[in-house]
């Protein structure tokens, strides 16, 4: 059967990694807009400036779910500076590409991760 997406996208859609909430997260980042059909929240547990745990909740199409799942794998264990270097393109490349129409709307995972890190740093400077 022909698929709209790459095999990797479908794998992550079918068996997403690290989905769910982290109740005592050190930071969260939410991007997207449910009205447009994609909304994503990333939860981070951080120790010594390193991401020790990461989870996501996503409302959206298969591409949105797969990019969320992929970013959690890419970011886990990375320092915050390293994680900030992960781009939208990296996520899409790791998934063997996304259909052009999905590159913008559903490829929000890197943004959500960066948002979470920004929120974490903001919180820390306030303390």
């Amino acid at each position: 059967m022909a698929d709209l997406y790459s095999k990797k996208v479908m794998d992550h859609f079918r068996n997403p990694k690290n989905h769910g909430e982290i109740k005592d997260a050190d930071a969260t980042g939410t991007v997207g807009n449910a009205v447009c059909g994609d909304l994503m929240t990333i939860y981070l547990k951080i120790k010594n400036d390193t991401i020790i745990d990461i989870k996501f909740l996503t409302f959206g199409c298969a591409a949105a779910i797969a990019t969320s799942s992929m970013i959690t794998e890419l970011a886990k264990g990375k320092t915050l500076d390293e994680a900030l270097k992960i781009t939208r393109k990296d996520v899409a490349d790791e998934l063997d590409g996304l259909p052009p129409i999905k590159m913008h709307c559903s490829n929000l995972a890197a943004d959500a991760l960066h948002e979470a890190i920004k929120n974490y740093r903001k919180k820390k400077t306030k303390k």
Binding site: G37, D38, F59, C61
Partner: protein
């Protein structure tokens, strides 16, 4: 894996009897219906026999049917054809054409185009179940109105419009009435002898016929300007050598639809109601459209907290072919204009699913869908930030 096709509003498989009817017209009786020799006569006879079959399905006269290349073309010929016939009216003030907000793109985009040509179009709203208010329709008609175009049944949510009443109103005000019946054909009785319909669009591939062919019913006496000029085929209204294999396929599909309609509608309605009852058991699930004034094969749902494309791909993994009720249908990303028109907010519209049944579906297949769909919904909800745990 066994697959279950539940997307008959998108297209249907060609019936084996239809294929059998078509085959001789590719290379045995391949003549041009305009030719005088026997090859031409054979093609001509097939063309006219098909015209009769289409006419009989909607109780029209044979000479009131022209063949086209599909439903979209039929809509274009009908609406633009009538508009161009009434060009002088562009100078007048009132609404020239009245349509609804939930029409198929083949009607809405034609209307939008005509607006750029100076025509005034009024888009009537619908109620929360998708039905046009006929009182409002009547109040909207002005002396400048020359056409009402409102679909017989909606392609997304399956709502059936009161076309008998709309036809009467149009007739009383001396306005022409066109209806896109692409989804309704073969699923409900459409009687041109009784109804005041002036133009009606038909597509072949929605009724187990081949793609690329359609028909337009034009009531005797209704004048339209042709869009395609050439050799004067189809009474000069649609030039181009007739697609005889396609047309014989459409003719046969119409004949079969007429024969099977009664049995089919009872059967489909039973399956549809089984499906609706089963899926509404899911927490926070809703039926879109009208509970009873809906096509016998249409079930359209929304599920809180999830997105339609994920649902369709999840179903595809289980061997079930369905359609998103809306949105991310890979080409368009906005939520559906139909769901917006019936007052569903975009977030919920994104969680919609359309299941449209056909005569080859079985009660066991429906039972299977009722079993697997809740698992997919649950799985997607565990990932959703919009689902209240």
């Amino acid at each position: 894996m066994k697959t279950i096709y539940l997307d008959h509003a998108a297209t249907t498989p060609v019936d084996p009897q239809v294929i059998e009817t078509m085959i001789p017209y590719f290379s045995t009786y391949f003549g041009n219906a305009s030719s005088l020799h026997s090859y031409g006569r054979d093609a001509y006879d097939a063309l006219e026999e098909s015209r009769k079959q289409v006419a009989e399905l909607i109780k029209a006269r044979k000479q009131e049917i022209i063949f086209t290349a599909g439903g979209t073309e039929s809509d274009n010929i009908a609406i633009k054809g009538v508009a161009y016939q009434n060009k002088q009216k562009r100078q007048t003030k009132g609404p020239h054409i009245i349509t609804s907000t939930i029409e198929h793109a083949a009607v809405l985009e034609v209307c939008k185009h005509l607006q750029t040509q100076g025509y005034k179009i009024e888009y009537l709203p619908v109620d929360t179940e998708g039905i046009v208010n006929t009182t409002e329709l009547e109040n909207t008609i002005s002396k400048d109105t020359f056409l009402i175009t409102i679909m017989t049944a909606n392609n997304e949510i399956g709502t059936i419009q009161p076309i008998e009443k709309i036809g009467r109103i149009a007739h009383d005000h001396d306005v022409l009435f066109h209806t896109d019946a692409v989804q309704a054909i073969g699923k409900m009785n459409l009687d041109m002898a009784k109804n005041k319909v002036d133009l009606l669009s038909i597509s072949s591939h929605k009724i187990y016929g081949p793609k690329g062919v359609g028909a337009l019913y034009i009531r005797e006496g209704v004048r339209i300007e042709p869009l395609i000029h050439g050799g004067g085929h189809e009474r000069g209204l649609r030039s181009s050598t007739e697609n005889i294999p396609g047309i014989t396929g459409l003719g046969k599909a119409c004949e079969l639809a007429a024969q099977r309609m009664e049995k089919d509608t009872i059967y489909l309605k039973k399956l549809r109601d089984q499906l609706i009852k089963g899926l509404l058991e899911i927490e926070e699930s809703f039926l879109n459209g009208h509970p009873t004034k809906r096509l016998v094969n249409n079930a359209h749902f929304r599920f809180t907290g999830i997105e339609g494309e994920s649902l369709v791909l999840g179903l595809n993994d289980k061997g079930v072919a369905a359609a998103t009720g809306s949105a991310c249908s890979s080409k368009k990303l906005q939520s559906s204009h139909v769901l917006t028109a019936i007052g569903i907010d975009p977030i919920h519209a994104h969680g919609s699913l359309r299941l449209t049944l056909g005569r080859e579906n079985t009660a066991d297949e429906i039972a299977y869908v009722i079993k697997v769909l809740p698992e997919i919904v649950d799985h997607l909800r565990t990932m959703s930030p919009l689902w209240n745990r």
